[in-house]
């Protein structure tokens, strides 16, 4: 009965298969969004699930007018930013036991690990909009694409980006002075 209520397109196994393949190709990006916006594993899983559901619902309307990745970023960031639920498992951002699983799995040099810890600790102090900007910047998205995703004009984006860089510098300087984020 429920299947009858679904749009016809979504019932096609080929469409589902195609969608799953595309999501798998871009899942690293989705994980990164979840990691930036959620503190705990449980919250990250919830957000990941919500993003997948929103992607699937919007998929029949994707006509390839923009790049798939642009479309994906829009949905992921819209879901993460608008989803203003209270985080269920808020933890201190610098707790090394709660570093994202993937980071724990990869062998980094000591210096890289320190930097990554500092980065996450600093990013956690940014606003939702600033996090989106940092994410797109680190993902090497052009200002054109950032504008297409966020809807902020490029001049404004550049100004904001410079401010964020400065803010991150200040945050990390303060943390280093207090020995926070050091393993």
């Amino acid at each position: 009965m429920l299947l009858l209520l679904k749009p016809f397109y979504l019932q096609e196994p080929a469409a589902q298969e195609e969608f799953v393949k595309l999501v798998q190709e871009h899942r690293a990006m989705l994980y990164k969004v979840c990691r930036l916006y959620c503190f705990s594993e449980q919250d990250r899983q919830d957000l990941f699930q919500e993003i997948i559901i929103q992607l699937w619902k919007s998929y029949p309307r994707f006509r390839g007018e923009s790049k798939f990745s642009t479309w994906l970023y829009r949905i992921a960031l819209n879901t993460a930013i608008s989803d203003l639920r209270k985080q269920k498992h808020r933890i201190t951002p610098l707790d090394p036991d709660h570093l994202p699983t993937q980071i724990q799995d990869i062998q980094y040099s000591k210096e890289q690990e320190e930097q990554l810890q500092q980065l996450y600790a600093a990013i956690n102090q940014l606003t939702e909009v600033e996090k989106a900007l940092v994410m797109l910047y680190l993902e090497d998205r052009s200002y054109d694409e950032m504008e297409e995703i966020l809807g902020i004009n490029q001049n404004n984006l550049r100004v904001k980006m410079n401010r964020i860089k400065e803010k991150l510098r200040k945050i990390t300087k303060k943390e280093t002075a207090y020995g926070i984020g050091q393993p």
Binding site: I53, N78, L116, L168
Partner: protein
């Protein structure tokens, strides 16, 4: 720490992705789950309300329509009228909730859309919540007068024979006006409790995106 120097470390995160998470089967399983987003929750609550109203009103309407040899069918008409008003109310609310977000739009325009529609939704909520009781009271009064016209000289709802024509409506206005004002303030407080924090946060995000 320079942001640019971290790009390499950031990109290397893709390499070590956990294979168990986000597997094909897991993603397919997620497609069949229900959204837990705020708007989806609001729509589910609305559906719950509609089901509750239908489950309460339909048997009651049928009872008054079929029992008592149809002598109390006026009450059934009244409830039917109330149900029609509620149907329009729920339809409008559902339309607003459907329009409330566009996840595939640009983040800023989606935020604008959410703020605009949520404000509209709140206005509608307050307006309909405030007017529902006085409007229904007036309609009920008119319907009862139509279905059960008082015999000449009889008193109905404090309408004593011999009083001036304007005294009865004045009495009702005097009763309904403070009640309506009270309901308005209760609604404003309740809506603020439900959506106040949410709309404030959305507005802050939008201001941040729009500001230089």
């Amino acid at each position: 720490m320079e942001l640019d120097s971290l790009k390499y470390v950031w990109h290397s995160l893709e390499v070590g992705s956990d294979q168990s998470a986000g597997s094909e089967a897991e993603i397919i399983a997620l497609l069949h789950k229900r959204s837990r987003g705020p708007i989806a929750k609001m729509r589910r609550n609305l559906l719950g309300e509609i089901i509750l109203v239908l489950a309460t009103y339909i048997p009651t309407i049928l009872f008054y329509l079929l029992d008592f040899e149809g002598r109390l069918s006026g009450i059934a008409w009244l409830l039917g009228l109330l149900m029609a008003v509620l149907a329009a109310y729920y339809y409008r609310k559902d339309r607003l909730l459907k329009e409330m977000q566009c996840v595939s739009c640009q983040v800023k325009s989606n935020l604008k859309l959410q703020v605009r529609t949520l404000k509209k939704y709140i206005r509608f909520y307050i307006l309909s919540g405030t007017l529902m009781i006085p409007v229904m009271a007036i309609l009920s009064y008119l319907l009862i007068r139509w279905k059960y016209p008082p015999p000449p000289g009889a008193a109905l709802f404090y309408q004593v024979s011999g009083i001036a024509w304007w005294q009865s409506p004045l009495f009702w206005i005097g009763l309904l006006a403070p009640l309506t004002i009270g309901i308005y303030y209760v609604n404003v407080w309740y809506v603020n409790k439900l959506y106040g924090r949410h709309i404030k946060k959305l507005q802050e995000l939008l201001e941040e995106m729009e500001g230089e």
